[in-house]
């Protein structure tokens, strides 16, 4: 195997994760830094550091011309897009193809078909995969949306055709709220994805968000690595995920059924990389295809922890046409349980983003914790970037053990200088219905864990925090 030069078109924790995998396989990891992030901590794991001029995402990580210039100048063999940015952009794939550079992801047709909600829904129907009732194509106006909504019945969900990660999605309970929300979704869709297209569909009550990890290559192998449950969401964005799903639980038939359904869809689009088929599952255990994410996902580590499969190394091997580490479906087994908490720079109560600068950071974790993050003392969390700065992942023998471990880890995670949602995770992991595994995507709204976040700890802690600053001042004077 000849070492390849792999360019990572991303930043933060996922750039670190990709660089680790590229280096492990003996390749050269090439990373970017930008004018807005000269201290890009992900470069620690990159062999070569390239400057992308500019500060905004449009000037840098979304700037195909500048990226392609780097690719030519630095003799890049392959590109890993991470998640977000250019990870599901077929124009970028096409340009890489023209430049004879490998895109570490699926073939562009799969991205196009699965990236467009209307097309993917149609594909799923044809492959015999159940879909949620709704509009068959883009809805142009609030009036047209109202017609469809009336047909399938309220509540309905409005979502951006090109969306993902919960951005550009809104639930509408009745006709009177439809118009205002339709406008908002179109605006968000345009600003976030550059595509104002909107779909309308039936909203499933008490639903579970359950997704299946796919791992496929160019040689016709299409494996699944079982499911994840991602029902703990705020504003349609996942904040806690776990594998396996507590709702599926011991129902191995249901597990096999949802996993093989996902494989069926992946095979239908000749899928050839790591990807995720997302389903919504109702109280009655019926499930419907939501969308397929044709990239590595934020929550991939929980699957890695319970199966022992390294998704990133396999994904790179698949793209380079090398044999994957995984040879058969039978090799992939679940052992134990894993939970991931997304650590975000946001207010723990309002859950609104809160940028700022980290000025103190310590981890004191139990055994069995993995922390994928880009945090360091001095990190500036900017409004341009996703507020997610780390993923705290616990693995253990069973679900109760993992909850105990993650709670221990949250107690030992100290991030100073910015607001974080660590305290919210502490409340959720201590809460009874979560501990019993009885929750739906309505969890945050119904249980309102944010109301139990302690507003302010004792005055004692205030003294200690102030002393921590004083200690630093003393040490600086002494040159320690």
């Amino acid at each position: 195997m000849k070492a390849k030069r792999i360019l990572i078109c991303n930043r933060g924790e996922i750039a670190i994760r990709v660089a680790k995998a590229a280096r492990e396989l003996g390749h050269v990891a090439v990373g970017f830094w930008t004018d807005s992030e000269p201290q890009a901590s992900h470069l620690e794991y990159c062999d070569e550091w390239i400057h992308l001029k500019g500060s905004s995402n449009a000037e840098t990580y979304l700037n195909m011309d500048q990226i392609l210039k780097v690719i030519r100048e630095r003799g890049i063999d392959a590109v890993h897009p991470g998640y977000g940015f250019l990870s599901e952009n077929t124009t970028f794939c096409k340009k890489l193809e023209d430049a004879k550079v490998i895109f570490i992801g699926p073939h562009p047709e799969a991205i196009y078909k699965m990236g467009d909600k209307a097309v993917s829904k149609q594909m799923a129907k044809e492959a015999g995969v159940p879909v949620v009732p709704g509009s068959t194509g883009e809805i142009e106006s609030a009036e047209e949306a109202a017609v469809v909504a009336k047909e399938i019945g309220y509540p309905v969900l409005l979502k951006a055709v090109a969306g993902g990660g919960g951005k550009g999605m809104r639930i509408v309970e009745s006709e009177k709220d439809l118009s205002k929300n339709f406008d908002a979704v179109r605006r968000e869709a345009q600003s976030s994805f550059g595509n104002p297209g909107v779909l309308v569909e039936k909203f499933i009550v008490n639903p579970h968000h359950i997704e299946v990890q796919i791992l496929a290559d160019n040689k016709g192998n299409v494996f699944h690595c079982f499911e994840r449950e991602c029902s703990i969401q705020r504003r349609h964005q996942k904040i806690i995920e776990e594998a396996p799903s507590p709702f599926i639980g011991e129902d191995e038939d249901l597990r096999q059924k949802i996993c093989s359904t996902a494989v069926k869809l992946a095979k239908a689009v000749n899928y050839n990389s790591a990807g995720t088929v997302e389903f919504i599952m109702g109280e009655d255990k019926s499930f419907y295809f939501l969308e397929m994410n044709t990239r590595i996902q934020v929550e991939h580590p929980i699957t890695e922890q319970v199966t022992g499969v390294d998704l990133l190394t396999n994904m790179i091997q698949a793209a380079l046409g090398e044999p994957m580490d995984i040879n058969s479906q039978e090799e992939i087994k679940i052992n134990g349980h894993a939970i991931e908490c997304r650590v975000c720079s946001e207010d723990a109560v309002t859950m609104l983003p809160a940028p700022g600068q980290v000025n103190g950071f310590e981890c004191t974790f139990p055994q069995g914790i993995r922390f994928d993050h880009c945090i360091y003392n001095g990190l500036e969390v900017k409004p341009d970037f996703d507020p997610m700065i780390g993923k705290l992942i616990g693995y253990g023998h069973n679900r109760a053990v993992v909850i105990r471990k993650v709670r221990g880890a949250l107690r030992g995670l100290v991030i100073e200088g910015i607001k974080t949602n660590v305290a919210l995770h502490q409340v959720i992991l201590a809460e009874e219905s979560f501990q019993r595994g009885l929750y739906t995507t309505n969890y945050i709204n119904e249980v309102q864990p944010q109301e139990k976040v302690e507003e302010l700890k004792s005055v004692e802690s205030l003294y200690k925090k102030a002393l921590a600053i004083e200690i630093n001042a003393i040490q600086e004077r002494r040159g320690l």
């Binding site: 951005k167 908002a184 605006r187 968000e188 600003s191 976030s192 504003r235 207010d347 723990a348 109560v349 609104l352 983003p353 809160a354 940028p355 700022g356 600068q357 000025n359 103190g360 950071f361 310590e362 004191t364 003392n377 001095g378 409004p383 341009d384 970037f385 996703d386 507020p387 100290v414 991030i415 100073e416 200088g417 910015i418 607001k419 974080t420 305290a423 976040v453 302690e454 507003e455 302010l456 700890k457 005055v459 802690s461 205030l462 003294y463 200690k464 925090k465 102030a466 002393l467 921590a468 600053i469 004083e470 200690i471 630093n472 001042a473 003393i474 040490q475 320690l480």
Partner: protein, 165 residues
């Protein structure tokens, strides 16, 4: 040395800190004096490159290095800690004074000077960190000042709207 700790809701805690002597096993003593709690003694020790704080030299707690001069620390909510002095001009807007707490862009302005508003009315939509945030009136009253335009990029701490009750 006097510390002021001022939190997001304008609460203020202040106390005196003085450095005591180095103890035999490498710990440094601190005296913290407050009006409510009187004087308390704390000890600091560095161990293998990390800092710890104790009150009895037996139970120790990690004290992360706080590295910047602004001294913002985080006790679930973020607090501004001012070392040794109270800066001038600090204060918290009333519920009728809407100030940005992060940089953002005005997507939509939904009110105008002179408008009558009720508590909870959305006055403008601010896009920050890729999210649309509805900025709402904190009180009933009349809009006195509108200091923003649609499409305007705002820094943190910008007075957007003032409402007279």
């Amino acid at each position: 040395m006097r510390y002021y700790i001022i939190n997001a809701e304008g609460k203020e805690v202040y106390f005196d800190v003085s450095t005591g002597k180095q103890t035999r096993d490498g710990a440094v003593g601190f005296e913290v004096k407050t009006e409510s709690d009187g004087t308390k003694n704390y000890y600091m020790k560095s161990l293998a490159g990390k800092n710890y704080i104790s009150q009895d030299m037996i139970s120790w707690e990690k004290a992360p290095k706080i590295s910047n001069n602004k001294g913002v620390v985080n006790i679930n909510e973020s607090l501004n800690v001012y070392r040794g002095f109270k800066p001038s001009g600090l204060g918290q807007g009333s519920a009728g004074t809407l100030v940005t707490d992060m940089p953002g862009k005005v997507v939509k302005l939904l009110t105008a000077e002179g408008a009558m508003v009720q508590q909870g009315d959305t006055l403008l939509i601010l896009e920050a960190m890729k999210m649309e945030n509805e900025i709402k009136a904190g009180v009933d009253g009349v809009v006195k000042i509108v200091n923003v335009k649609e499409g305007q990029n705002l820094d943190s701490g910008h007075l957007m709207i003032e409402i007279e009750e």
